[in-house]
Amino acid sequence: MQIALWQVLALSLYAFLAINDIIHMDLGLNRPLFAGFFAGLVMGDIGLGLAIGATLQLMVLGVATFGGSSMPDFMSAALIGTALSVIANEGMEFGIGLAVPVGMLLIQLDVFARFINTFIQHRADAYTEKCELKKIERIHLLGLFTWGLSRALPVAICLIFGNEITQTLTNIMPAWLMSGLKVAGGLLPAVGIAILLKYLPTKKYIPYMLFGFLLAAYLKIPMLGIAIAGVAFAILVFGRSGKQAAVVGSLANEGGMDEDE
């Protein structure tokens, strides 16, 4: 299949909006899950887009930007991976195999965008000296384009050359590589889960994790049912910590009174 111009435009525009979404309202556009779904919708294979998006999403669960550090761009990667898999008429393993390295390369453009904005900051500093409010506002908003283009341009370029890229790849990719990538698609969610466990208080609350595992692996309870059990535990923990806080609070108060006397 050949990619149509409107598809290139739709996906590039999406990338432009998605990055500006996550740094502001965070409706979810910049998450690989949503990007995969959208690319699937545009390319006419929602199931494939969902599978690629969900795998990438699970892979980066817990990878978050703290204090402005850059992370691989798996939003753009989900768009590119899904679109090129559809063009190549290949399955999800092809998309994942493409998306992972693409996402990691695109981290450089995130760094680049944040760096370019430093020039905006310098201009704004100059306008501050002269109290030029309108110019400060305008130069600040220009940053929306730095962010947007840092995602839209690579997506557009990869899609415009999509036919050539996929043809070359399908010609040179050996069978063992494809079967290896298929396995990778199944195993990669483990990374996201492990990262999450790293930053959750896992050691303190490990019984709840074991219980979740038991419900899913042995009792085969669907995820929403397990989430209900999780909410029940959460309410109990919240109530118990409230009682502890009250006890500590009253002890502290008594101590305070002693000192007053």
Binding site: V100, L196, G212, M223, A227
Partner: protein, 266 residues
């Protein structure tokens, strides 16, 4: 002493929309959200400082290094507006102190609480449903996003009304919510391990009449044994020096290529 009620709820709304829609447009390595904070405050500054000298001082104060959590910044904005409304240009030193003093702690609380909720609950359940071919899960986030937008309005108003003391009174409750959310998160994550990691061993041993599928033997020992071992391995890897999430991803891909290439997994 409150000079007058110069700031209307319309002004507060203007600040809120600026921060919500465009606050981080010019995020940069030098002052991070500094210019964005200044940009968001401009509607209020215009109301308060008619004198050009005062305006210059105010702009310079706000166009300084600032970096905090998106939603929780609204509390700082609110408290800041109240201080400036009350004491005008005299308040600038105190405003700077409040901004720099609160941005760190609030960023910590916000990143932890919202990160836990978004990743362990919303996107893990959404992805799980998507892997089953169900696109409904991706919309859960919209409910969460709508909630956060309402919360921002409340943060700004409460910060404006009650000043910085809201942070101390809220701190303990937020910690309790984070703990509770972590428990929900861990329950879901425990369930994710056998549900979303796929590792199947296609090897079959034949001994005369008897065939033995290795996978079913392993399943009898413990379901999802390989996914569990894999998570333990990556968890251990992440604790090692110099390990990043990107490196962990590449290592898992390398393992997959070897095991998949030789047909041990498939």
């Amino acid at each position: 002493m409150k000079m007058s009620d110069k700031i209307t709820s319309k002004d507060l709304r203007k600040v809120r929309y600026r921060w919500l829609l465009f606050g981080e447009a010019s995020w940069n390595y030098e002052k991070m959200q500094g210019l964005g904070y200044c940009y968001s405050m401009i509607p209020v500054l215009k109301k308060l400082y008619t004198n050009k000298e005062d305006m210059k001082i105010a702009l310079k104060t706000h166009n300084q290094f600032f970096n905090c959590h998106q939603e929780f910044t609204e509390i700082i904005l609110g408290a800041d507006i109240a201080m400036e409304e009350k004491n005008g240009i005299e308040s600038m030193e105190a405003v700077s102190a409040v901004k720099t003093g609160l941005m760190g702690p609030l960023a910590g609380i916000g990143d932890t609480l919202f990160g836990v909720i978004a990743n362990t609950i919303i996107f893990s359940i959404g992805s799980y449903m998507a892997l089953q071919g169900n696109p409904l899960g991706i919309w859960i986030n919209l409910i969460w996003a709508a909630f956060r937008i309402v919360l921002r309005g409340w943060f700004l108003k409460t910060g404006y009304r009650e000043g910085t003391k809201i942070v101390t009174s809220m701190g303990a409750t937020l910690n309790r919510i984070t703990e509770a959310a972590s428990v929900l998160g861990l329950t879901v994550v425990g369930a994710l391990i056998p549900s979303v990691i796929r590792a199947n061993i296609p090897l079959v041993f034949e001994a005369g009449e008897v065939t033995m599928e290795l996978q079913s033997v392993i399943d009898q020992m413990m379901p999802a044994l390989i996914p569990v071992l894999l998570v333990v391995l990556v968890y251990w890897l992440l604790g090692r020096k110099g390990m990043s999430s990107s490196k962990a991803i590449l290592i898992v891909i390398a393992i997959s290529l070897v095991l998949g290439g030789f047909g041990i997994l498939g």
